[in-house]
Point group: C2
Chain length 202, copies 2
């Protein structure tokens, strides 16, 4: 079915940069990616909405060789080589203790920190969902910076948590390789379900 | 701390539209929002990456008065009035039976449908995370269309699932009001954690 689609407010070039031409990269050039670039990405996407403004996402940049060697054994075999050679690797985790920050980020409703203090299951579920949204924003932000992302979920999350976040409430959700794509960075794009199929009207 | 931030590839206007000037709207003008507009949003953001290209997000547009009346009792009291008056309401749900679509969307690795068929817990967790990313993309896409989103998690998810998705594996994650903002659509922006605080380097 061919639809005449409404014009979007976002320019076609920006649509291409963020979605249509953007691709998940598996190999990268040697050009480095700095922590300042990723902080700039975060400082753009931090405005994306989260439940109760909770902002549970925490970004850990694996920049040193020593940290990289600690990460690799926890990646699944198919993700190990690309994670070993990407210019920069980010561990994206949800902070299940986000309630400690609510007095600062949700100040107009006092008492929320205490209300959530005893309910770790609710916090884990809320943190996962809102951090998931923030990972979506983050991937868009990496592309907004002109960089390419290679997000992965194939790893031993408990192993990464123990190696990097022991004694905290951070739970790893996604690991992302970040850089500039090599010539062979990606295969043909896999099929997408389109709006005519995913969107139902009741 | 003032950092001199690297330039992003995305234009400043687009950064403003999607993140810096974008706001969560609580009230809307009467201007309608059509299903075609939301399909166009989806057809842009469908390219965002998901685990195994699984694309578990399903969008149900509550467009009829009858469907709206079925939704409202399941919204929490503080969300009921705005959900009752928004031009369009979208229920964003994860399809825990996404594995049925893997032969189509992940065709180069045969057998994945069967591998996941018996493991509903893994599927539920994977569907929630990838649909969470897709909800992030969707909110960015609503803004790309020049529309404003009012995403909410305050509702009885089991009630909505029973009312709208009985007999399916769809699990409601977020409900979003969509429209053009009224003059009083939002308060001052709540504080954000910045990149210097959220991003750690190891």
């Amino acid at each position: 079915m061919t639809l005449t689609l409404p014009e979007l407010a976002l320019s076609a070039d920006a649509q291409d940069l963020l979605f249509r031409e953007a691709r998940t990269a598996n190999t990268f050039t040697d050009e480095p990616v700095t922590a300042d670039e990723i902080r700039a990405v975060y400082d753009l996407v931090k405005y994306g909405p989260t439940a109760m403004n909770s902002q549970p996402l925490r970004v850990t940049l694996v920049a040193s060789d020593e940290a990289r060697q600690r990460l690799l054994p926890h990646m699944s075999e198919g993700n190990r080589a690309k994670t070993g050679t990407a210019p920069l690797v980010a561990i994206l985790a949800a902070d299940v203790d986000f309630h400690e920050t609510l007095p600062e980020v949700f100040p107009h409703v006092p008492g929320m920190r205490d209300a959530f203090a005893g309910d770790v299951d609710s916090r884990a579920s809320m943190a996962t969902l809102s951090a998931g949204l923030q990972i979506g924003y983050f991937i868009v932000g990496v592309r907004a910076a002109g960089l390419f992302a290679g997000p992965m979920t194939g790893f031993d999350a408990a192993g990464i948590d123990k190696e990097f976040f022991d004694g905290t409430a951070l739970k790893t959700l996604v690991v992302v390789n970040i850089g500039h794509p090599a010539p062979d960075a990606y295969r043909d794009r896999l099929p997408r379900l389109d709006g005519a199929r995913v969107v139902t009207v009741v």
